[in-house]
């Protein structure tokens, strides 16, 4: 991995064209993805992601500006139904797989950090 990309992300929209993904970028992606990765894992992933991203960048060769994007193979239309009260899961069922529960609710770690 070359030094020149070590700090920060390349400019927005810049095509990769062989440019490497830096270890710092990978660490940033891990934070965004909520994955507490170890140093070894970051090194390993940086190398692999670099190879994969270089390979998939081929998509930039073909699609001209006038091609509309397709996000879904089916033409989707909104599906409506009457707003009716119906039976749902009982609280015990909903909580059955919870790592921690209390008073018919999910018990979670603190949400706000000390700096908040």
């Amino acid at each position: 991995m070359s030094e020149k990309h070590a700090a920060g992300s390349p400019a927005a929209g810049e095509a990769r064209g062989g440019a490497a993904i830096t270890r710092d970028e990978v660490a940033h992606l891990a934070r965004l993805s909520r994955l507490a990765l170890g140093e070894d894992e970051l090194d390993h992933l940086a190398a692999q992601l670099d190879v994969i991203i270089s390979a998939v960048a081929r998509v930039q060769e073909v699609a001209a500006e006038d091609i509309p994007p397709t996000s879904h193979a089916l033409p989707l239309t909104n599906v409506f139904r009457p707003d009716e009260v119906r039976p749902s899961l009982a609280p015990e069922q909903a909580l059955a797989g919870a790592p921690a529960a209390e008073d018919q609710r999910f018990r979670v770690p603190r949400i706000l950090g000390e700096e908040a």
Binding site: L49, V56, A57, L76
Partner: protein
């Protein structure tokens, strides 16, 4: 009788049960015995509960005795890929993050098949969250190919393909996001279908890439696959992408099994360079066979198919990074590091790092990258444009021909461990199957022989337009019939016998 029952097709078993010659309990027991005898070596199953399976079979026998009209597959055992939720069995999606989780409800497909009287014999091994082409990414260890225990059984539905190929179950379900039904079917010598997207319900399926995931059947014959396809398909109000149209007549097509006058296109871009010579040779013979049966064969070009793989490896990880955000250690599954001092965000990051395997992490990171500001247009946006071009390639091709064919996979089953450290090499396994996922149309893989160089099964892929699922069964059944006449029986009869261990 017991071991003989496991060699029967689903259609034969259903008939034996319906005519009262055997009970659903006997059939379930025969398959449970087979699992006990061979699954220690195959490892197709993550969960088998004999008592629950036998109780379901007894219930079917009682319903029949009471004169209830049951579906055409009543009493036949089925193995479900562990990505389908089952209210009475654990569901893990092959991941440590869901180890031991018991869903509070059934997937629509699970429920429909239960109501039709099929007996759930167990849950099958899979690549974690259906990400992979070899079943080596399962957190619970790899499944082995019944043809050669040192080889992969395909993926991500490799547990299901191995279970059917090893006579542990006559039928199984799988999901196909980039080829995860067709590729394992091809490399284990059985039949697997990716139905039209939206033709089979995704409700109760643990999501990987929502615009691509398609549940479908595994079986040892084309007719069996069609029977299962018909039994679980149809509109589901619980899935907003479910198509509200009649199910194509797939069983009728499988019985018809004729291709006279049908126009068949060989996709130029899916063959030749990069395809194993033995795979290409069997495919070429299958094409000649179709021609001899009266089909009109032409070569068709789909120029953008070569961009399908890169587009897929941007779109699928993008959707995966979003779908897997639900594994947040708060409401179900694993929770790591909740010591009272750490914040929810820290616990979430620790849990996900511990609970997800390498391939899942790779894809979450890749998806997060492709969707991040500054890269979105250059990667995800471009991939979606490629998707349009692939759909247009299919449309142009289907103006000239009724179905398209190709080898299902570029190679036969590769050795376990061969590609684990080389993601791009692993991704190539789905080269020929991915275009149909991006376009959403129907496709099947049927056995078309053994590759000379390694004696392992080769699959023929047949692709048809959206909602023309019946065409893939018609062609698949014609090929199956002609080849079985030539071989004097099914391809699977050529597989080495798995010695049954003493019980």
């Amino acid at each position: 009788m017991s071991s003989e029952l496991t060699r029967r097709t689903a259609a034969e078993l259903a008939e034996l049960i319906a005519s009262g010659q055997v009970s659903a309990v006997e059939v379930a027991q025969a398959h449970l015995d087979r699992i006990t005898a061979v699954d220690g070596r195959i490892k197709a199953f993550l969960h088998v509960d004999a008592e629950t399976a036998l109780a379901q079979a007894r219930a079917v026998d009682e319903r029949r005795a009471a004169g209830e009209r049951l579906g055409p597959l009543a009493g036949v055992p089925i193995a479900h890929k562990d990505v389908f939720t089952t209210a009475d069995m654990p569901t893990t999606a092959g991941s440590k993050i869901l180890e031991g989780w018991r869903p509070p409800y059934d997937a629509t497909i699970t429920r429909r098949l239960r109501e039709a009287g099929l007996v759930i014999i167990g849950k099958t091994n899979m690549d974690e969250f259906a990400m992979g082409s070899s079943t080596e990414n399962s957190a619970f260890g790899p499944t082995r190919n019944p043809w050669n225990l040192d080889r992969i059984p395909g993926g991500s539905s490799g547990g299901s393909s191995a279970a059917v190929a090893a006579y542990e179950a006559p039928l199984a379900t799988g999901t196909d996001t980039g080829g995860s039904i067709r590729q394992p079917a091809a490399v284990t010598g059985i039949v697997g279908t990716k139905p039209t997207y939206g033709g089979s319900s995704r409700y109760g399926l643990i999501a990987f890439a929502s615009s691509l995931d398609t549940p479908g059947p595994f079986a040892r014959t084309v007719l069996d696959a069609a029977l299962l396809h018909e039994a679980f398909s149809g509109h589901d109000p619980m899935d907003s992408t479910s198509i509200d149209r009649p199910v194509p007549p797939v069983v009728e097509a499988a019985r018809r099994a004729d291709v006279a006058g049908l126009r068949i296109g060989v996709v130029r871009e899916l063959g030749g360079e990069g395809f194993q010579p033995g795979v290409q040779a069997r495919f070429n013979e299958a094409v000649e066979l179709l021609e001899s049966l009266g089909a009109k064969v032409t070569e068709v070009s789909c120029p953008h198919f070569t961009y399908a793989l890169p587009a897929y490896y941007l779109i699928a990880p993008s959707e995966c990074s979003s779908n897997l955000a639900r594994f947040d250690a708060m409401r179900y599954g694993l929770r790591i590091g909740d010591d009272g001092a750490r914040s929810a965000e820290e616990v979430m990051a620790l849990t996900r790092a511990e609970g997800f395997g390498p391939e899942v992490k790779r894809r979450i990171m890749l998806g997060t990258y492709a969707l991040s500001s500054g890269y979105y247009d250059a990667y995800y946006g471009k991939a979606q444009q490629v998707r349009t071009l692939i759909i247009r390639d299919f449309e142009a091709a289907f103006e000239q021909v009724d179905v398209l064919v190709s080898p299902t996979t570029p190679t036969t089953a590769f050795p376990i461990g061969d590609r684990v450290d080389d993601p791009m090499a692993m991704y190539l396994a789905d080269l020929a199957t991915i275009p149909s996922n991006l376009a959403g149309n129907a496709a099947i893989s049927v056995p078309c022989g053994l590759a000379e160089e390694d004696g392992l099964p080769v699959g023929l892929q047949v692709m048809a337009p959206t909602l023309a699922d019946d065409r893939v069964y018609r062609v698949g059944a014609a090929v199956e019939k002609a080849l079985e006449d030539r071989w004097g029986g099914p391809l699977l009869a050529k597989a080495p016998e798995l010695a049954e261990a003493d019980r």
